[in-house]
C-alpha cells in the first residue's frame, strides 16, 4: 500500500507563529518523503535547537531533536553507524552557521551521504529576534536595539568551500519547488545542503514574505508584483559538475550567483558534484564489508552472550615468550 502524505504527519500541536515560513519547509519535507515512499521507520529527522528544532516532532519518522549547533555531528554519527537509514538534518541559520559553524565546515570535509536543510530567516526567533549569522550588516530588524554590527555569512559559498557536494536554495513559500530540491538532495550521492529562505513574520520585518515576493516592487505597466526570487534552472544555469575538469569554473559561478541579493535572488540548484567520494565510500575502501556489516548491524556476542571478538592475534604480541 502506497504511503500517503498523512502517514508522515503527527498529531503534535504545532506552536509556530501563524504565517511562519517553517510550515512550508515542514510540508515540503513530508511531501518529499511521500514522493520517495520512504517507510517512516527507515528515516530519521535530526534537528538542532530553536523553532526549526521542533520540526521532527511534527513528522512521523524517527525524530531526534538534539543540541544547539550539534545536529550535524549527531546525524553523521547515526548515519555512519547505520548507513541503511535515510537521515535528514534540519536547523536554523544561527544553529548551523553560528554556534554550529565548526561542524558545518567539518561536515563538508567528510561528505557523509545525508541532507542538511537550514531554515534561514536571519534572526534568532525563539529567543526573541536577535541577529543571526545571515542578517546583513547594518540591518535593524524590529527587536534589535541597534543595527546589526556583524557582516553576514554566505551559506552557499561557505558550504561550497567546506566541501558540500550538493548546494541548493529554496524558498519556503514555493513548497513544490522546495520539495523537488529535497528529492534531488536525497537522491544525491554525498552531503547535500539546502538553504531555505524562510520569513520570520514575528521578528524579521525586513526580509518578509511581501519583500521576497516583491509586493513593494510593482511593475508600473502590468501592475503586478515583481518577485525578488528567480529560478536558476529557468536561466539556463547548470551547476552540475559533469566532469572533474569543470570544477573550478563551476565553483566560481556558485560564488558569483550566491552573492546575488537584493532585487535578484536566485533559488534552485547551485552546484552538484558526485566526483567526490562519500565518507561511506572512504570507509569501504578500508573496511570492504562496511555497508552490509555496519557498526549497527554487527553481531558482537554468541547466543550464550559470550563475546565473539577474537583478540588472540593482538594478545599474542603481548605474550612474554614471543
Amino acid at each position: 500500500m502506497a504511503l500517503k502524505l498523512s502517514d508522515y504527519k503527527t498529531d503534535v500541536h504545532n506552536d509556530w507563529c501563524p504565517g511562519c515560513g517553517d510550515f512550508g519547509i515542514l510540508n515540503a519535507i513530508q511531501m518529499a518523503l511521500a514522493d520517495m515512499q520512504v517507510p517512516p521507520y527507515k528515516a530519521t529527522i535530526f534537528s538542532g535547537i530553536g523553532c526549526s528544532g521542533k520540526t521532527p516532532h511534527f513528522i512521523r519518522t524517527y525524530g531526534i531533536h538534539t543540541l544547539h549547533g550539534r545536529v550535524l555531528p549527531f546525524a553523521q554519527g547515526a548515519k555512519l553507524a547505520n548507513p541503511d537509514l535515510e537521515m535528514i538534518a534540519v536547523g536554523g541559520d544561527g544553529d548551523g552557521l553560528g554556534i554550529g559553524a565548526g561542524h558545518f565546515v567539518s561536515a563538508g570535509r567528510r561528505n557523509v551521504d545525508l541532507v542538511y536543510i537550514i531554515f534561514n530567516n536571519a534572526v534568532y526567533g525563539l529567543t526573541k529576534g536577535q541577529a543571526a549569522p545571515t542578517l546583513k550588516l547594518g540591518m535593524k530588524t524590529k527587536s534589535l536595539p541597534q543595527p546589526n554590527v556583524n557582516n553576514s555569512v554566505n551559506p552557499i559559498a561557505l558550504a561550497l568551500v567546506a566541501g558540500f557536494t550538493f548546494l541548493a536554495r529554496g524558498y519556503s513559500y514555493d513548497v513544490r519547488h522546495l520539495k523537488d530540491l529535497i528529492n534531488k538532495a536525497v537522491a544525491h550521492k554525498g552531503l547535500a545542503f539546502i538553504d531555505v529562505l524562510q520569513p520570520c513574520p514575528t521578528y524579521n520585518d525586513i526580509n518578509t514574505k511581501e519583500w521576497f515576493q516583491g509586493l513593494d516592487k510593482v511593475d508600473p505597466e502590468t501592475h503586478k508584483a515583481m518577485p525578488r526570487m528567480y529560478k536558476l534552472e529557468e536561466t539556463g544555469y547548470d551547476g552540475v559538475v559533469h566532469n572533474p575538469d569543470e570544477i573550478n569554473q563551476k565553483m566560481a559561478q556558485v560564488i558569483e550567483k550566491s552573492n546575488e541579493w537584493g532585487d535578484r535572488i536566485p533559488i534552485g540548484i547551485f552546484y552538484q558534484n558526485e566526483h567526490v567520494p562519500t565518507y561511506q565510500e572512504r570507509i569501504t575502501a578500508r573496511i570492504p564489508d562496511y555497508m552490509e556489516n555496519s557498526p549497527a548491524a554487527q553481531q558482537i556476542a554468541d547466543k550464550n552472550d559470550k563475546p565473539i571478538t577474537n583478540i588472540g592475534r593482538l594478545l599474542s604480541d603481548l605474550q612474554v615468550d614471543k
Binding site: Y41, G102, Q298, I300, D305, P307, I311, L314
Partner: protein, 649 residues
C-alpha cells in the same frame, strides 16, 4: 664481592624526546619479561615533540610489582641532561652509565634544563664544593658510592661500522639508545640472547633496523662485559623460567582491547594526550577477527573536529544500536558536558573513556593527576543519572571496559570510565587477558515491537512509565517503533512537554535507575578491600599500585593496613564503603589531587570523615616509598593531618 642484589632493582633510561628512550625502555621491559621477571614501567615526558628530557623508569622483580620507587639503581644515559636530572636519585652501590663524549658539558649548556631545575642542580653541586659540569655531577654521585660506567658510544659505533665493513653505519647515532641499554644489561649480567630477541621483537616491523640494532647491541654488550669485568656491580638480573600465561601489557592499549571484546564498533575522538592512543590503536586494528562466524568485524573510528562533535557522533551512533564510545582527557571532557546531559535525559547508552591528566585548563598536559573526579560525577547542568567507574590498573582497565558497555546498555545512561595518565603511560607484566570472562549484556533491547508497547497514536513508548524505570529500548530503524528524542523534557513517546506532573514522573524514572544499578552492580565493581587493620586507606584509580606495594612492605615489618579501593563513583556505594570502614579507627585518604576529591565525596555520601590526607599534585605519580613513608609517619603519630607528596623529576 659484596652480596649481590639479584632481580630486584629500579632501572631508568633518559634522553631527549625523539631519541629512542621509549624504544630502549620497551626493549628492556620485554627482555626482562621474556626472562621470566616481573616489571612495572612508567613513562615521563614533556609536552614537546623533540628535544625535551623524557625518561622511563622500570622496576624489575622476581615477584609482581605495581609501582615505581624513588630511587634509581641503574641510570642509563647517553646525554648530559639525563645525568644532571637524575644523578642525585641514584643509590649508593647503584650505577650510572654515561657517554664519555659529553662529560665536559656544563649545566648552562643544556638549554632544556629550565631555570628552576638548573637552580636546584646548581645548589646541590655547589653545596658539595663541586663545579657545574656533568663530570661534577658524576663526581657527586661517586662520592656517595655510585659506580660510574663510562662508555665511548661514538667510538664504539665507529668500530662497529668498521667491523661490518660499512662506514655509513658510523652515522647511525640513532642506535645509541639501544647501545646504552646493552651496556646496562652487560653490567647486570643479563642474558644477551634474551636481550637480542627483545630487540628483534620491538623492531619486528623493520627487519634491517632490527638486525643492525642486534649487532650494535652485541658489540657494546661484549665491550662492556670485558671492560667492566671486575666492577663488582651490586645489582644483577638473572633470567627465570617464564609463566606462559604472562603478558606484558601497555596501558595505552588495554582499554582499547577491552572495547574490541565488548563489541564497541564506533569510536570518535579529537586528538588529546593521553587519550589518543586508545583511538589510534582501535583504528590501526579496525578489522577484527571473530570466533566461528567466518566473518570479520570492524570498528569505525572517526576523528572529529572537536570533543563536542566527538560525543555527539558517539550518541548518534549509539541510537542505532551500535556500541559506541569516545575517548578524551579533561579539557575534552569539559566540552562534552552539555551532550552528556542530552544522553542522560534521552537515556542513551554511550561510553566515555576519560584519561585524566593534570589540570586545570591545559595544566600539565603530559603529566598525571586524578583531578577530575568532582567534575565527572557532577558534569552537566541539571540533574541526570550517570555511572562512573574508575580503574586502578592496566589489567582492571581491560575488564572494566567490557563492564562499562554492559552498564551503559543495562541502565541506558552515559557511563564514564575513568582512567589516567599513569595507567595510560605505564607498562606491566600481568596475567593474560581473558576475553571470555565477561558476558555481553545489552540490557533491554526490543527488536520487534508489539501493539501493547505502543501509545494511543500508534507510536512506540520509548520512555514508558511503569514499575520498572528502565524501559525497553528500540534502536533507530526498528520497524513499527517510531519514537522521538529531545533535549527538552519529554512524554513517553519522546515529544516535548512542560507538564509539571509528567516532569516529576520522568525525573523520577530516570533517577530511579541509579537505585536499580546500585542494587544490581556486584560489590567487587563498587569497592574492593585489601588487607586488614584498624588503619584504613581509601583511594581510587592508579594510586592502587603504590598502595598495594607499600602495604606489602609495611606488612613485612609487621604493620597491617587495610586498603579500600573505591571503583564505582556514581552512584556512590555508600553502604558498602561504610561497612568496609566499620571498626577502622583511622581513615587515610590518598589521592593524586589537591583537595582530596574522593574524601569529599565519601564525606558527602557517607558522612565519614578522613583523619589523615595524603595528596600529590606535582604531576608525577605516587611512588611506593612515598606512600610507605607517609603511612609510617601516621603510624608513628607525628604526621600532620595533610601530607603533600612531592617526589619525581
Amino acid at each position: 664481592m659484596e652480596k649481590r642484589t639479584t632481580n630486584s632493582l629500579s632501572w631508568v633510561i633518559g634522553g631527549a624526546q625523539g631519541s629512542g628512550v621509549d624504544s630502549a625502555a620497551n626493549i628492556f621491559s620485554r627482555a626482562c619479561a621474556a626472562g621470566g621477571l616481573h616489571v612495572f614501567g612508567k613513562r615521563e615526558y614533556y609536552s614537546n615533540i623533540k628535544g625535551e628530557h623524557s625518561y622511563f623508569t622500570v622496576r624489575v622483580s622476581d615477584i609482581p610489582v605495581h609501582s615505581h620507587i624513588n630511587e634509581i639503581n641503574v641510570l642509563t644515559s647517553f646525554d648530559a641532561e639525563t645525568v644532571f636530572r637524575h644523578f642525585e636519585d641514584v643509590t649508593p652501590g647503584g650505577a650510572i652509565i654515561y657517554d664519555s663524549d659529553v662529560v665536559k658539558t656544563l649545566l648552562s649548556e643544556v638549554p632544556t634544563v629550565d631555570d628552576h631545575a638548573a637552580a636546584r642542580i646548581k645548589n646541590s653541586l655547589e653545596k658539595s664544593g663541586l663545579g657545574l659540569s656533568m663530570q661534577d655531577a658524576l663526581e657527586h654521585a661517586k662520592r656517595r658510592g655510585v659506580l660510574l660506567f663510562q662508555v665511548p658510544f661514538f667510538q664504539l659505533l665507529q668500530e662497529f661500522a668498521q667491523k661490518a665493513n660499512d662506514p655509513s653505519l658510523s652515522k647511525l647515532t640513532r642506535m645509541v639508545n639501544v647501545m646504552a641499554l646493552s651496556a646496562s644489561m652487560a653490567i647486570m649480567d643479563f642474558d644477551n640472547d634474551v636481550l637480542a630477541r627483545a630487540i628483534q621483537f620491538i623492531f619486528r616491523a623493520k627487519k634491517k633496523v632490527a638486525e643492525l640494532n642486534v649487532s650494535a647491541s652485541a658489540h657494546v654488550y661484549n665491550y662492556a662485559k670485558a671492560k667492566f669485568a671486575g666492577s663488582n656491580f651490586a645489582y644483577g638480573l638473572k633470567t627465570r623460567p617464564i609463566d606462559k600465561n604472562m603478558i606484558i601489557a601497555q596501558g595505552s592499549q588495554s582499554s582499547a582491547l577491552g572495547k574490541m571484546v565488548a563489541g564497541c564498533r564506533f569510536q570518535t575522538y579529537y586528538p588529546i594526550t593521553p587519550a589518543s592512543d586508545d583511538s589510534e590503536f582501535l583504528e590501526a586494528n579496525e578489522i577484527l577477527d571473530l570466533n566461528d562466524t567466518g566473518k570479520k568485524g570492524s570498528t569505525v573510528v572517526v576523528q572529529t573536529e572537536d570533543e563536542i562533535a566527538a560525543i555527539a557522533m558517539a550518541i548518534g551512533s549509539a541510537l542505532t544500536g551500535a556500541r559506541s564510545a569516545t575517548a578524551t582527557s579533561g579539557p575534552g571532557f569539559s566540552l562534552m558536558a552539555e551532550a552528556l546531559g542530552w544522553a542522560g535525559i534521552n537515556e542513551v547508552p554511550v561510553v566515555i573513556s576519560l584519561y585524566q591528566r593534570a589540570g586545570p585548563s591545559t595544566g600539565l598536559p603530559t603529566r598525571h593527576e586524578q583531578g577530575d573526579l568532582n567534575f565527572v560525577v557532577n558534569a552537566g547542568h541539571g540533574e541526570f543519572p550517570r555511572i562512573v567507574l574508575a580503574s586502578g590498573d592496566i589489567e582492571e582497565s581491560f575488564y572494566d571496559t567490557i563492564k562499562v558497555f554492559n552498564l551503559a546498555d543495562r541502565y541506558q545512561m552515559p557511563v564514564i570510565h575513568m582512567l589516567d595518565k599513569a595507567i595510560a603511560n605505564s607498562v606491566t607484566t600481568c596475567q593474560n587477558f581473558d576475553p571470555g570472562k565477561i558476558a555481553i549484556d545489552r540490557g533491554s533491547i526490543v527488536r520487534q515491537v508489539m501493539d501493547k508497547d505502543k501509545g494511543a497514536a500508534g507510536n512506540y513508548l520509548r520512555f514508558k512509565l511503569s514499575d520498572n524505570p528502565i524501559s525497553p529500548r528500540v534502536v533507530l530503524g526498528t520497524k513499527d517503533a517510531i519514537f522521538w528524542n529531545t533535549g527538552d523534557e519529554h512524554t513517553e513517546e519522546g515529544h516535548i512537554t512542560e507538564d509539571p506532573e509528567l516532569r516529576v514522573q520522568m525525573m523520577d524514572k530516570r533517577m530511579d535507575k541509579l537505585g536499580v544499578a546500585l542494587r544490581e552492580i556486584p560489590d567487587g565493581d563498587k569497592a574492593v578491600a585489601y588487607g586488614s587493620g584498624d588503619v584504613a586507606i581509601i583511594s581510587w584509580g592508579s594510586t592502587k599500585g603504590a598502595i598495594l606495594d607499600a602495604m606489602e612492605k609495611l606488612e613485612a615489618e609487621g604493620i597491617k593496613i587495610k586498603f579500600i579501593q573505591v571503583r564505582l563513583m556514581s552512584p556512590f556505594p555508600s553502604e558498602l564503603v561504610k561497612s568496609m570502614l566499620k571498626g577502622c579507627k583511622v581513615v587515610v585518604d590518598i589521592e593524586m589531587n589537591y583537595t582530596g576529591q574522593l574524601g569529599s565525596l565519601m564525606r558527602q555520601q557517607t558522612g565519614i570523615e578522613w583523619n589523615y590526607q595524603i595528596v600529590k599534585y606535582n604531576g608525577r605519580p605516587m611512588s611506593l616509598d612515598e606512600v610507605y613513608n607517609a603511612v609510617i609517619r601516621i603510624k608513628g603519630g607525628d604526621a600532620p593531618r595533610r601530607q603533600v607528596l612531592k617526589s619525581g623529576a
